[in-house]
Amino acid sequence: MKKRKLRVPAYILVMLVAAVGLLLFSAVGGARAALTYYSQVYTSEFEMYHIGITLLENNKEVNWRNYKDEAWHVGGSERLLDHIEEFRFGETYDEELKVRNSGSIDEYIRVTVRRYWTDANGKKLTDLDPDLIQLHFTENSGWVQDASFKDPERTVLYYTTPVSIGAETAAFADSLTVDSAIKAKVTQTKRQDGEYTVITTTYDYNGAHFNLEVEADGVQTHNAEDAILSAWGRSVSVAEDGTLSLK
């Protein structure tokens, strides 16, 4: 019986071998990383998983998400701006926003702030100016803004130092003002009604809602550069003292 010869193109074989090699190599790499990680904190094995984060508005816990006892614990009202009862344009309201490490491992933290307008049904009104929603970001407070984002709606800030267990970041924002310039965007009609002259003012922003949205992200400090790149998609440098800078 004549033996059939398997004819496989060379490039297929090369790809197959490369793929198997890569797969094996990556598995070994993962195992090595895991071994390194666990071996360093061997005595506190269960604590390692307890990552957590809490967003605070004017020192009040708004929302938190903590991993504990092999489950995520999520709580809080998830609502911002509830402390503003009588809202007036141009007036400045306290809006101190910061983040607490409510987990059991140190972490790096970033926040993403979105400001935008919606109609009564929640549909985004992109023709209204988000810059009129003026959240005042603090300066020299340890937060660095990611200037690579050119989106007027979105601001991304990174806290440059790792936040230890139970500690809080400095506030990344401290006040909110909605520019009263929106009241100047009006159309007036004038008409005669008997002995009355009637001026009716129609505001462009009438019926709109201004929105403030904050997302805070936490990531482990171990292998921070790789972790941040992988989890947040951002290249950063971490100095020996733990200081983070954007690349």
Binding site: I12, I51, G90, S180, K183, R191, Y203
Partner: protein
């Protein structure tokens, strides 16, 4: 043979893709989100009541309708040559060509009357003779500074249309 090659190629591709799956799953991450929203209710209608003059004096009343945003108002009048006008009224003060009402007018409230007296009436004027004294009044929404104090911006550009051919 071709089929087998194809299978092997797909297998190789799948393995390569598998290798490139992000290792993010290996990292500990967490996040929280919170959001807030406030509606903007802005509506405004002001009415200037300008009845016939009594004793050569116009009595002007400006009212902001219920539900209106607070507004500031100002007014001035134009008289034919030879006539002069004298203004008076509680909380009305002159600044340049206009007379300004001091406090803002909230929805449902009225400003104190602005009196505009026509002086230098000719001796031979008849009782039913008309003088074309035109009153112009303007309103602007109340703005607030950072401390919550009321301010007005009279220099803002506003598109104004006049209906029914009327209006002063």
């Amino acid at each position: 043979m071709k089929k087998r090659n194809l299978i092997l190629a797909v297998l190789a591709l799948v393995l390569v893709v598998t290798v490139s799956v992000p290792s993010a799953l290996a990292y500990f991450t967490t996040y929280v989100r919170a959001a807030g929203s406030k509606p903007v209710h802005l509506a405004e209608e002001t009415r200037l009541k300008e009845p016939k003059p009594v004793d050569w004096t116009k009595h002007l009343t400006v009212t902001a309708q219920d539900g209106s945003e607070p507004v500031f108002v100002r007014a001035r009048a134009f008289a034919p040559d030879g006539l002069t006008l004298t203004y008076s009224g509680e909380n009305w003060t002159q600044n340049g060509d206009f007379w300004y009402y001091g406090p803002s007018i909230k929805g449902g409230e009225s400003a104190a009357e602005l009196l505009i007296k026509i002086d230098n009436i000719p001796q031979d004027v008849k009782e039913d003779e008309n003088f074309n004294v035109v009153v112009v009044y303007e309103c602007t929404p109340v703005l607030y500074d950072a401390q919550g104090n009321e301010t007005a911006d009279w220099n803002g550009k506003v598109t104004t249309t006049t209906e029914n051919g009327g209006g002063n």
